[in-house]
Symmetry: C2
Subunit: 151 residues, 2 copies
């Protein structure tokens, strides 16, 4: 077993799982416009030095409301179960999430961001700069190619 | 504290930290051509269903040889210390890594991939499909803009 201590939390307009469930709240333009904040524990705030010039950040977080993990997931609007590692379902063996957000500014230990698709209070494990190496070409999305989500 | 159990390990041509250190082994074309395998614990292998059609996978892993975490890092070929959250240094408060690899095929519980920049034996925590939402435009890389790395 490997243990991690959260470095901060997400502040999000999504307060409950229903708020973020695409079956209840379709978001045709996705989450790009969703604003929020990442509040870093003051003990870790010195590590935010130099972050202001970056446009995009990788946020690694915990799906803290996901419930037990499974090896299969039925994505929204899909009839078939898919192997969980070919989905972004939060109910996975290790409930770790990864979202790339846009950074709008920093005020002390608070990062102002958009692209939030996490719940209020989500524990943050790590923040990394998004670089050219993370931007891949020729992406084939397998079963998702025909899904209404993840376009 | 949050606990995770690895779901598998990375098989890599890089056996030691020196092998992968850009100060000892410059890789002008990066890691895109570096082949390796991801071996999933057979208990989790059913979760690999449907993965074959995906071209790129997000691998979340543990920097298991990184040593203690710090709030600042001096990136290779740089004179100045940077806030660790604006770097991809393995020596971070939670030693979690994220790399996007290309998937070449699956044989049972083994994924054949390229783009490996991890060490042999790296514990894998999660595998996710890379989607259009992970491919960002207009990326500004702050201090890295002038770095010889991360182009």
């Amino acid at each position: 077993m490997i243990r991690f201590r959260p470095i901060g939390i997400v502040h999000s307009p999504f307060k409950t799982r229903d708020d973020i469930d695409p079956r209840r709240n379709r978001r045709p333009r996705g989450f790009a416009d969703v604003r929020g904040e990442i509040e870093i524990d003051p003990a870790y705030a010195p590590g935010l030095k130099d972050i202001a010039g970056l446009s995009h950040l990788i946020i690694i977080f915990v799906f803290h409301k996901a419930g037990p993990g499974h090896l299969f997931a039925r994505p929204p609007f899909e009839r078939r179960r898919r192997g969980v590692f070919s989905t972004r379902s939060p109910r996975r063996p290790n409930p770790i999430g990864m979202t790339v957000v846009r950074l709008h500014g920093r005020r002390g230990n608070i990062l102002k961001v958009s692209g939030i698709d996490m719940l209020e209070g989500t524990p943050v494990l790590d923040i990394k700069p998004y670089t050219s190496r993370d931007r891949k070409r020729g992406v084939q999305r397998g079963w998702m190619q025909r899904s209404v989500l993840n376009r």
